[in-house]
């Protein structure tokens, strides 16, 4: 066990994050009783868009839900078996199978029956996205389903045509939502939700940027419980407000050298979702003074970054910070589309090299000693190109290892074997 060098303490706003998450799921489950509307879709859905239907509109995003199920090994296994019994292959997205399994079992991970949504609203960039909700719609008795295709290429190739393709689909989506809910759409609420989303996702990027400091004020295991709010409700004011509070607290930790891990000696980064049922692996690292400062996944799944004047990565300047006033529905949707296209975790869908460059940037700017890639059998979307990323990191002289597992299906993760692989890697780093 490495000795403590830095002061450390829990986050003051930790319980608030937990409460926000709990409220999110409970509000969704209760929404209909209170006359509200509930929709479900991917964490990358344009969640600001349904916000125009009213203040009593609640969402359930599939990936964080799938991760919640994964954390409960027994329930996850029940879900997987239910999906497999229905004919779905066990190598499909593990979150998706957790989600479908919950529908099939009529069990909600947070208690009670499965809360059937009023409609499904999602985006498609990964092969599984639209198909996930196509099947969910069928299993739930043909719940209305709309999907926006966003697979228009990386941010550096954006064009008016690509933005118009996305915006026009969202415009159609709004008309569709009005039909399926019978509600009149309020553009002002949409505009506010877009502002909220830009603020929340830029703030999360700023929080991640604070981890460039030694000692790192946040470790990745803690970040998993924080970034999740952005995957649940990035368009909501309470999410942006919470991230502002968190940003201030993390800034304070940096100023006072309060570490996430008191014995920090080595800094690593990971990649893709962790095996949720085995987060003890992150604590295992800490025994040896090794802290994971995050990953492109924890930073860029939700965080929106830009290259600053000094050439380093920082939070993207929001439209409101630029003094841009959004006045119409179309402007709001275009702002949202353009903002979202710059999401770091959307770039690698078109080229592993774009991801490798971002990973090398993190290694350099976040002062990372080694990279641990999770070859995640549970997610083809974030694992695409990962072997090329490994080669690129090696070529750049960065120590790198990979371990194989599954974010949501514990049957495909071997903790002891992984620990043995990690041990060998830590020896290479000099941590053991």
């Amino acid at each position: 066990m490495a000795e403590n060098k830095y002061e450390t303490k829990p986050l003051d706003c930790w319980n608030e994050a937990k409460q926000l998450r709990k409220d999110y799921y409970e509000n969704f489950a209760r929404a209909r009783k209170n006359g509200g509307i509930r929709w479900a879709g991917g964490a990358w859905s344009f969640s600001a868009v349904p916000a125009g239907l009213g203040d009593d509109v609640y969402s359930l995003t599939g990936e964080p839900y799938g991760a919640t199920v994964a954390f409960n090994k027994e329930f996850a296994e029940e879900c997987h078996e239910a999906a497999e019994a229905k004919g779905y292959a066990r190598d499909l997205c593990a979150y998706m199978r957790n989600y479908w399994g919950s529908i099939l079992l009529d069990k909600f991970a947070w208690g009670g029956e499965w809360p059937k949504p009023d409609f499904l609203w999602t985006t498609h960039i990964c092969c599984s996205h639209a198909k996930w909700y196509q099947v969910a719609s069928e299993l739930e008795g043909n719940v209305p389903f709309f999907c926006v295709d966003v697979s228009v290429g990386p941010y550096n190739e954006r064009s008016e045509r690509k933005l118009n393709y996305m915006v026009s689909q969202m415009m159609d989506g709004i008309e569709w939502m009005e039909k399926v809910t019978g509600r009149e759409y309020d553009d002002e609420k949409l505009i506010q939700a877009v502002y909220n989303e830009c603020r929340a996702t830029s703030l999360w990027a700023e929080i991640c940027t604070l981890n460039k400091t030694i000692p790192t004020p946040l470790d990745e295991k803690t970040m998993y419980s924080l970034y999740v709010l952005g995957t649940l409700m990035k368009h909501r004011k309470e999410c942006a407000d919470f991230y502002e509070k968190l940003r201030d607290e993390v800034k304070d930790r940096v100023a006072n050298k309060i570490a996430a891990v008191g014995n920090e000696r080595f800094r690593v980064m990971t990649d893709t979702q962790p095996p949720w049922a085995f987060l003890e692996l992150w604590r295992y690292l800490q025994k040896y003074g090794v802290v994971s400062i995050g990953s492109l996944y924890t930073f860029g799944l939700i965080g929106i970054f830009e290259v600053k004047e000094d050439g380093t990565w920082g939070p993207r300047t929001t439209p409101q910070e630029q003094g841009i006033e959004i006045e119409t529905r179309e402007e709001a949707l275009k702002t949202l589309a353009e903002w979202t296209l710059s999401r770091p975790e959307w770039q690698h869908f078109y080229s592993p090299e774009l991801k490798s460059e971002m990973m090398k940037r993190i290694v350099k700017e976040w002062q990372v000693d080694g990279v641990m890639l999770h070859y995640n059998r549970g997610c083809e979307g974030l694992t695409i190109g990962i072997a090329e990323n490994k080669l690129a990191l090696k070529e750049a002289g960065i120590p790198v290892m990979h371990f194989e597992g599954n974010m949501g299906d514990e049957r495909e993760f071997d903790l002891e074997r992984t620990k043995a692989e990690v041990d060998a890697f830590l020896e290479i780093l000099g941590a053991r």
Partner: protein, 379 residues
């Protein structure tokens, strides 16, 4: 006589690389490899370039281990393996029309590790059921056309496009005519022959292919196969050009009379409907074609299409095959099985890898075929 009719297609299928090299030598033209049948070949052809579909060789290999994580499908790894072994070294460039995540990896790794003078990623939309896809794809095709013009140093005129559209449409019409002979009570060609005909069309100059098809169509009405048709089967699922598998099944008193594969009917089923704006016409053709599962949402358009094929070709049973880890097909197979079975067509599922366990599959297919035999009096 039986073998001679399809010999040309078989020869092209087997000797695809020699053909392309010979074509280049003969014409002085360039060859462009493509990774998915959403590639708008008409534009490539109009540029005077030979489009060549990149496919695997069905051999066990380990070349791709450092490049593609093994949870991705065997086809994408098999395709990349061909490039890494230099089997497509005559290609002047590669392109992909955006398809599944799996094949995209074969493309991007090829781009990185196999030097090319040209490569292009066409952002083919996935949302093919939204009307917004038509103008969007038309614009993307315009960019692709410009890029090809810059690469080849020649303008692609409307005349060039018209010619390419006509050649391609004729190829589609002719192959559909050949397919009509599979609808007969005693089909005049096997599923294996059909596959080799279609796949060879993805690799050779379509004008030459058209000539061979015309010749075939003259003789086909008189052909009689010296084999029993047996059970009329449909095969559908992931890409399948596995000769060993198709011939094994067809040796068991069964005939594949139709399929829904990108190496079969899905590739050529619809034509470009000419309009003044040629690129808009080509865009519409690729958006409206029988869908790949990765693009078949929110509605399941594949279900009625597959059922219609089954009915038109008087199918008795369907074999659903899937490349291991092929998520798009894994996501459709339960719905397709259920739809076919509800409509009285029994199904059987098999999962493929880069090579096929023929012995085991033979036993399983035999068991499936036995279910079609009339019940015998046991007592």
């Amino acid at each position: 006589m039986e073998q001679r009719l399809f010999e040309k297609f078989h020869e092209w299928y087997e000797n695809r690389h020699e053909y392309a090299k010979g074509w280049k030598e003969r014409t002085g033209g360039k060859a462009l490899g493509y990774f998915c049948t959403y590639a708008p070949e008409e534009i490539i052809y109009a540029a005077g370039v030979l489009p060549v579909r990149i496919l695997g060789s069905h051999e066990a290999q380990s070349f791709t281990e450092p490049h593609i994580f093994a949870m991705f499908c065997p086809l994408c790894r098999d395709c990349l393996a061909q490039g890494l072994q230099g089997r497509y070294d005559y290609l002047n460039g590669i392109m992909i029309a955006q398809c599944c995540l799996h094949m995209r990896q074969a493309f991007t790794s090829w781009q990185k590790h196999i030097p090319q003078e040209y490569s292009y990623y066409l952002y083919m939309p996935h949302g093919i059921q939204t009307p917004r896809a038509y103008p969007y794809l038309r614009g993307e095709l315009e960019d692709f056309k410009k890029s090809l013009e810059e690469w080849t140093g020649r303008e692609i005129t409307n005349k060039d496009l018209d010619h390419a559209i006509e050649v391609y449409n004729e190829n589609r019409r002719l192959m559909k005519q050949v397919y009509s002979f599979r609808r007969e009570k005693t089909p005049r060609l096997t599923g294996l022959e059909a596959m080799e005909m279609v796949v060879s069309s993805q690799m050779v100059d379509k004008e030459e292919h058209n000539q061979a098809l015309k010749k075939l169509l003259k003789e086909l009405p008189n052909r009689k196969l010296n084999r029993s048709t047996g059970t009329r089967l449909m095969v559908l699922g992931s890409e399948d050009d596995d000769v060993e598998f198709l011939s094994m099944v067809e040796s068991l008193d069964a005939t594949f009379v139709i399929e829904d594969h990108c190496t079969g009917s899905r590739y050529f089923w619809n034509e470009v409907i000419p309009q003044e704006d040629r690129l808009a016409a080509i865009a519409a053709r690729y958006i409206d074609r029988p869908a790949c599962p990765s693009k078949d949402w929110p509605k399941r358009t594949r279900l009625p299409h597959i059922l219609k094929l089954a009915k038109d070709y008087d199918v008795e049973g369907a074999i659903l095959i899937q490349q291991k880890f092929c998520d798009p097909h894994e996501l459709d197979i339960p719905a397709i099985r259920s739809h076919l079975e509800t409509n009285g067509i029994p199904t059987y599922f098999l999962e493929f890898d880069v090579t096929v366990p023929v012995g085991q599959f033979k036993t399983r297919v035999e068991a499936f075929l036995e279910t079609f035999q009339l019940p015998t009096d046991l007592f």
